[in-house]
Assembly symmetry: C2
Homo-oligomer: 341 residues x 2
């Protein structure tokens, strides 16, 4: 028997089974209108030839790739990783693969990534925007590629969005610090052009104002600008802040690093609340109090919404899903006594 150079195609299978191409195709798509014995013969030929259908060819015809993409600014963030896992689980159930792309927070890279996805006939995109105002999803909209914006919305576009109650969460966290009696509370954030950053800052300010306290803000262009000097200016000296509210995971990492360098104890010298929970948060001795975002739930909802768009031809109006966060009280805010030495 002659084995063809490449791998077997459906034509080969049909020939081997002594049926027409279409019949073989029917078996592949398990169409009901087939004599069982014919189907069996074809299936046997498939196994014998080690046949694997070519998804590219299938997709070319059907104008679908059975692939979705998730584009994020930062893969290292545990929040993102966790959400991706949930997306991936949903995708698997739908027999879809997920391309994970990273924009590195750069709007231009993001734009080109999105464009590439269009060329790849991606069936849908979950986007964590790099900049809620500048992120450009026109290439997707033009080609009617289903889009769900996630965590960080794209302003001014009528698309499904999955976010959390950022403002409320920040207000609550700030209120909690205020309730501890702290008045000089610093927020530390980065990329102020982000919706999440803006909202969280707004929540903080509203809480501070209501309490008659002055907002103290360290909002830098990028996380890398969060230097020791920058933080030290707010933390050191007699008028150093009593508490810090860090607006995302990367900021928290940097704050922890610099507080350690400055030899500041948490919460004795400075209290701390962090947006985003993560694996070690409760394990380290200062036991971080955090605003927990339901990352898996968010990812699950985003993927579910996306597949609804992909599978529903009907253009239902955009869903705006907003999930709640949870303030997890541990020790870094000053809540419980520190473990004795």
């Amino acid at each position: 028997m002659i084995v063809k150079s490449g791998s077997a195609t459906l034509v080969d299978v049909a020939r081997a089974a002594g049926v027409s191409l279409k019949t073989a195709s029917r078996v592949l798509n398990d169409s009901p209108e087939l004599r069982p014995e014919t189907a069996a013969r074809v299936r046997e030929a498939m196994v014998r030839l080690g046949y694997q259908p070519n998804e590219l060819a299938r997709g070319l015809k059907a104008k679908r790739s059975a692939v979705i993409a998730m584009i994020v600014p930062n893969l290292a963030d545990p929040f993102t990783a966790s959400a991706f896992q949930a997306v991936q689980d949903v995708a698997r159930k739908h027999k879809y693969a997920v391309i994970l792309g990273s924009s590195g927070g750069d709007v231009e890279i993001e734009k080109s990534e999105l464009q590439v996805m269009v060329r790849r006939q991606i069936d849908g995109v979950i986007l964590v925007a790099a900049d809620s105002k500048k992120s450009d999803v026109k290439s997707l909209m033009e080609k009617h590629v289903p889009l769900v914006v996630f965590d960080e919305p794209v302003l001014g576009e009528e698309v499904d969005s999955i976010t959390v109650t950022n403002r409320k969460a920040a207000r609550e966290a700030t209120d909690h610090l205020l309730a501890h009696g702290y008045l000089r509370i610093l927020i530390v954030g980065a990329r102020p052009f982000l919706f999440t950053c803006t909202e969280r800052a707004a929540g903080y300010r509203s809480a501070m104002r209501r309490a008659g306290a002055d907002p103290i803000e360290l909002l830098v262009e990028h996380e890398s600008d969060l230097t020791l000097e920058a933080l030290s200016a707010f933390v050191s000296g007699p008028n150093g802040v009593e508490a810090i509210f860090s607006l995302n995971w990367v900021c928290t990492m940097r704050v922890l690093r610099w507080l350690k360098a400055l030899n500041k104890k948490i919460p004795q010298d400075v209290a701390l609340i962090s947006f985003d929970d993560f694996e070690l948060a409760d394990l380290i001795p200062m036991e971080l109090t955090v605003v927990r975002q339901p990352s898996r739930e968010l990812g699950h909802q985003a993927a579910t919404a996306l597949f609804e768009r992909i599978e529903d031809a009907s253009h239902h109006p955009p869903r705006k899903i907003v999930l709640s966060t949870e303030l997890i009280l541990r020790r870094s805010c000053g809540c419980k006594p520190q473990p004795q030495e």
Copy 2:
């Protein structure tokens, strides 16, 4: 002007520019043999029609998808995330996208993921095997899909592999603990069927034997079996171990959790060295001493090796790249004095 329902194809562009299909195709692939003015006219038409080439069609013809896949057991592990980033960076330079798949450590899921990748005409796979003996890459080999095994090799297959000096690293880490004077040193690992686990355990044993110390091992089937009770049996009581060597990140997380629950101070009560470095390792007060794997470098090398296979038609013999690790001495091993309270 009539806008076709779907998006513009190359035929539309050709028609709009008044040239033949092939000419338009030449422009797309910027073939040199073209009159500049013709090319300009075609390009103008492309822009005007908002033309985006269909990668599926291109791939069908060229028998390539311009997509590679990375299949890993656990996305949450920072080591994996970091390696993926490097892979993704290399892929972008080659104009490839990366599908990230998760096997959850299950050989069957892994197998079906790999098979799906074949159907998708994936151009290459980077695999972190779920089980070095049972992982099944036959489906890839049969179709001659380039494969690089990463971190955890697939035994018995002649493929490129990128790993680290697991055994040596474990020996050095153990030696270091021994040098501190600890004799009752416990290793904590999971999934003993993994090559990485086996090698690290072997390194540990050889160091222990050479020092005349008895190996003490807690090697469980899965990380979830690493319960408080399991660890407590080794740590508590007058004969509790003096030091722990944890074989991967997940184990370390669990060890930290249970040591905290048992109210054991690191390193005063129990010293600790962890395989795998991570973001917070140096920030937490016990400052973890770790065996650092060059995760980005590993990812970079894996991707580079993969693209060499993809682009080189010549079947060069498999590369076996083994990178070195680095023992990062911090405080949890007992090296430096603890920060004073």
